[in-house]
Amino acid sequence: MREVSAKKIEEAVREMCMDANYNLGEDVVECIKKAKDREDSPTGKAILEDILKNIEIGKNEKLAICQDTGFSVYFVELGEEVKIVDGHYMDAFTEGTRRGYKDGYLRKSIVDDPVISRINTKDNTPPIVYTDIVPGDKIKITMAPKGGGAENMSEVRMLTAAHGIEGVKKFVIERVEKSGGNPCPPVVVGVGIGGTFEKCAMLAKRALFRYPIGSHHPDKKFAEVEEELLEKVNNLGIGPMGLGGRTTALAVHIETFPCHIATMPAAVNINCHAARHKTRVI
């Protein structure tokens, strides 16, 4: 067994909270630059220029690029040969998040109970941590601050086999069209197909953090659907911030999983243009 200190995980988490919020991935920046060059709408182009200027300010001044520094979501691949010492696994994520959001001047956006009191926890905890146990002795952590505006535009639908791939396409396009300017377009569209009710939502979430942005599903059939959906979504004319234009989405990512003979769940999770995520391996 390889011993890994919980303190080491905590420190990595703390740093990732700041890094993810200040520095947008180069793949996303390049994608926005290309969209700006293609954009026909003068308003849309001006908005994309401001988005790029803002990314520079965030990087240079170590400032959050968006005030909504999100729910702190972690995807972890935990090697089965790792033994956590000097503390507890979950505490490392909670403490790392608390310290990262405090030290990084990041907004605290979490309320304690979701409906009745809605009192801010004032330190952005608890985080959401999804852990997969994998072979090996490493810990791979992906941190994603997930903003509320785009999350509100997401949906799970229990389609059936009769809907087919055309039904899935219709659902995705409808979902993006209904969202309009609300989720801060140009968006990244994460689509989950298959699994169970909750599994397909997880697939959609994971699809958002595919690296690099715009890369495709390994199965050519689905890669083609990704291409087709991106074109169709951009033909909606919603454009940057919903004010009209050619760039409604930067990418459509589909993740799939086998499903039950009676079901065909699909989920759409939307991310704003600030598609923030950072990965580290300990």
Binding site: D40, S41, P42, T43, G44, I47, D50, I51, K53, N54, I57, G58, E61, K62, L63, A64, I65, C66, Q67, D68, T69, Y105, L106, R107, K108, S109, R118, N120, K122, G149, N152, G180, G181, N182, P183, C184, N235, L236, G237, I238, G239, P240, M241, G242, L243, G244, G245, R246, C272, H273, A274
Partner: protein
Amino acid sequence: MAEIRLQTPLSDESIEKLHIGDKVLLSGVIYTARDAAHKRLVELIKDNKPLPIDIKGQVIYYVGPAPAKPGYAIGPAGPTTSYRMDPYATILHEHGLKASIGKGNRGPEVIEALKKYKGVYLAATGGVAALIAKTIKKAEIVAYEDLGAEAIRRLEVSDFPCIVANDCYGGDLFQEGVKKYRID
């Protein structure tokens, strides 16, 4: 696309000059409020109690800023999604509010209220929070400090950039803009 410099507070005359698509550079005092603060403000109005801020002629910016780093007037401060404030907008315009700033489109009841009470809805770019913060010169909490990021702040802004998305004539830039670029 006309570029118009506007000084707050706003009069009916200044609202009448604005049309959808106009680029506005806003200067003067504006107030921040989002979900939780709106709920409290509207409860006060319904109970006939005084508001902690005078909203006559004023502008409300839908924002919950991040904390300010030392040396900064305010932390990153981009707009939040406006439709969540739709249920509160009509009553605030009825009581003298002239403009709101946010992102995303508004419902028909807000567009009606803007016509009826002479107001505008200004769209700011979401997710350019560090850039927008540079136009905010001063920020102080004036009510509901317990709400943290959602407290009401009095901001002094200089050339705050936004676009007229809904004017007092029923115009809607979201609908017009999308129509122009949609390919069927």
